[in-house]
Symmetry: C2
Subunit: 331 residues, 2 copies
C-alpha cells in the first residue's frame, strides 16, 4: 500500500484576498520510512499571516507554496513510528510539515519539545514562532528596555499579545491597539496600560491621547494607519520593529503616510526582521519565556478550530480579524 496522508494543497494562486477555492484537500504521498526517519501524527496545526505571502509566486524569505503541491507550516504532533535513535514513539515534536494529518521525514526535521511543562499547542504560540517573534523583535530589534513607552498593533493577536506581556514583564509602559470591544478588553487584561480600539476612530488621535509624551518603541504587525500613527507619536531616537503589515498582505491601495517625514526630525530607526535570524539565541527565549509562561506572567489565549477541514477558513479568518490570540486547528 502506498503511503499517503490527507493534506491541503495549493490549487491556485489568489490575487487579493484568498478564498476557499484556492485550496484543495486531497491525498499526498508520504515517503517510505527509511533508516533515520520518523512518522508523526499531527495534533495541532498553525495558521499564520506570513503564509499569505507564500501563496504568491515571488521570491521571499520563505519559499512560495507550489500550485498542485501540499502546503506546509508549523505543527505539533506525536511520533507514531520511528527508525531513528533520536526520537522514540510517543514523543511530542514540533515541526514544519503542517496543513496535513501525518508527516514523514528525517528525525532532524522534527524538534523534540524542550523540558518545559506547558500544553502542546504552546509550541506553536508563546513558546513557538509567534512568541519568539515577539521576544526577539521587541528586545533585540527595537532594543526596548525598562521605562520605555511601547506601542503594539494587533495587540490581541498571537504575536501582539506576547509583545504586550513581555513588555510588561520587563517594566515598560504599553499601549496596545486592537479592533473591537472584546479584543480591547483582553488587551487590558494582558496588562496593557492603555488599549486603543482602532475601529472606534483614527489611530493617530487615540495614540496621541494615550501617549501625550510620545512613544519610544513601536512593534508593527499592521502597517498602514498604525505605522503612520507611530511616526506621528515617535520620540527622539524611537525604534520601530517591523514584524508584519497585515493591512497590505492582500493588496489594495498602497498605504500612504502623512507623518513619515518625522523619521528625520525624530531620528527614528526602523528595522524589518524575521525571527529565524535569532535561532542561534533561541536558548535565551526558552529560558525567559519558559519562566514567564510557567509562572503565569505570560498568559495565552487561543482561537481553536476543529479538524483538518477547517484549515483554509481558519487561515482566512486571520485577515478578517476573527481570532483572539493564536489561531489554531486541532486534529
Amino acid at each position: 500500500m502506498a503511503n499517503t496522508t490527507r493534506a491541503w494543497h495549493l490549487k491556485s494562486r489568489p490575487s487579493g484576498m484568498p478564498a476557499a477555492e484556492n485550496f484543495e484537500l486531497k491525498e499526498a504521498p508520504l515517503p517510505d520510512l527509511g533508516e533515520g526517519m520518523v512518522r508523526v501524527r499531527n495534533s495541532w496545526l498553525s495558521v499564520d499571516p506570513y503564509m499569505r505571502s507564500r501563496m504568491n509566486d515571488v521570491k521571499s524569505y520563505v519559499p512560495s507554496f507550489k500550485v498542485g503541491e501540499p502546503m506546509d507550516g508549523g505543527a505539533v504532533g506525536k511520533v507514531v513510528e520511528s527508525r531513528s535513535p533520536h526520537l522514540r514513539e510517543g514523543e511530542t515534536v514540533f515541526h514544519m510539515q503542517g496543513w496535513r494529518e501525518e508527516a514523514v521525514g528525517p528525525a532532524g526535521q522534527f524538534n523534540k519539545v524542550p523540558p518545559i511543562a506547558v500544553e502542546d499547542h504552546q509550541w506553536l504560540g508563546n513558546l513557538g514562532l509567534t512568541g519568539a517573534t515577539a521576544y526577539f523583535g521587541l528586545l533585540r530589534i527595537a532594543e526596548a528596555k525598562e521605562g520605555d513607552v511601547v506601542f503594539v498593533s494587533a495587540a490581541a493577536g498571537a504575536v501582539g499579545s506576547a509583545v504586550v506581556q513581555i513588555a510588561k514583564a520587563k517594566g515598560m509602559t504599553v499601549i496596545g491597539a486592537a479592533g473591537g470591544e472584546e479584543k480591547v478588553a483582553w488587551v487590558r487584561e494582558l496588562g496593557a496600560d492603555h488599549a486603543i480600539d482602532y475601529k472606534a476612530g483614527p489611530v493617530v488621535q487615540a495614540l496621541t491621547r494615550a501617549a501625550p509624551d510620545g512613544i519610544d518603541v513601536y512593534f508593527d504587525n499592521v502597517g498602514g494607519d498604525h505605522l503612520d500613527a507611530a511616526f506621528a507619536a515617535a520620540r527622539q531616537n524611537a525604534r520601530f520593529a517591523i514584524c508584519g503589515m497585515i493591512d497590505s498582505y492582500n493588496g489594495g491601495e498602497p498605504p500612504a503616510f502623512r507623518y513619515i517625514m518625522r523619521v528625520i526630525a525624530a531620528r527614528i530607526m526602523i528595522k524589518g526582521f524575521i525571527y529565524t535570524h535569532f535561532l542561534p539565541q533561541i536558548g535565551d527565549f526558552y529560558r525567559d519565556m519558559g519562566q514567564w509562561v510557567a509562572s503565569g506572567e505570560v498568559k495565552s489565549r487561543e482561537t481553536v478550530r476543529d479538524g483538518l477541514e477547517a484549515m483554509p477558513e481558519a487561515f482566512l479568518d486571520l485577515f478578517r480579524g476573527a481570532n483572539i490570540g493564536k489561531m489554531l486547528v486541532k486534529l
Copy 2:
C-alpha cells in the same frame, strides 16, 4: 546711531509651497559690540531645503522661524570688528546668522575656518553642512562600505553630489537619480556608475535596470517614489539613511508606498538623522573631506545668485529643482 543690518524676516507662514510674499527684507537691530563680541560682514549665504520646515510653527529639530523676526541659516563672512581675543579683523568665519548682511554676536558663535586651502563658499557646501550630512549619513548611518551598491536620490543636489563622490572615493558602485538631462550628465561626470533621469519614467523601473541584483544602501533626499523604488530594489540587510524628503516638504498628498512590505522580507534598516548628531566626530570629516576636496577627488558645483535681494527666490528655486550642486547667494 542704532546698529542695524538689512535682513530677511519671516512675514507670514506659508501653507504648502512658500511664495515671495512670505518674506520681507527690512532693517533688523544689531546688538552693541560688547566685550568678547565680533561683527561679521557676510559674503556667502546658504539656502537649504531643511529651512522649509522652520517656516512652520511646529516643534522640530531646529527651532521655527518666528513671524516678524529675522531668519537665519548658514553663512560665511569676514570679521570687520572684533572685541574678542579669539578672532581678528579680516579672518574668515562660518556661522548661523545668515539671511542678512551683517552679524554681531559672541565670538564663540563664529567658527574660524580650518586650515584647508579651499574657496570660502566651500564652508557652506562640501566642507560645510551639506558635505558633513553626506559623509556621516553615508558612512555612519548607512554604514556603507567598499563594494556596496549605493542608490542616491537628488544626486545632482548639494548633499547628493557629495554622497556620489564620497561613495566613489570609498570604492562603492553608485546609482544616482536626478531630474533632466543636464543634471544626469553632471551626476555621470561626478563618477556615478549609473544615472537615472526620474523625469524620463518610473524610478522603480530605472533602478531595477541599473541595479538588477539590488542595492545595499539608499541615501534618501527625496522620499516618495524614490524611497518606494529603494524598497523594491533592496537586498537583504539593506540600510537606508533618511536625510530629507523634499517631495513632501510643501504638503500635498501623503506619499504612498507600494513596496514598503519589503522592509520585512529584506530586513531593511531605515534611520533618519541630522548631521549635528555627529559634531563630536567632525574632525574625521575635515580630515577625509579636506583631502578629497584638495586633491580634486571631490568636486563641487554651485548655483550662485547675486545679492541679498535674491535670497527668497534662491530658496524657492530649491523646490523647483533649479539648482545643480549647492545653491548659494553671494553678497
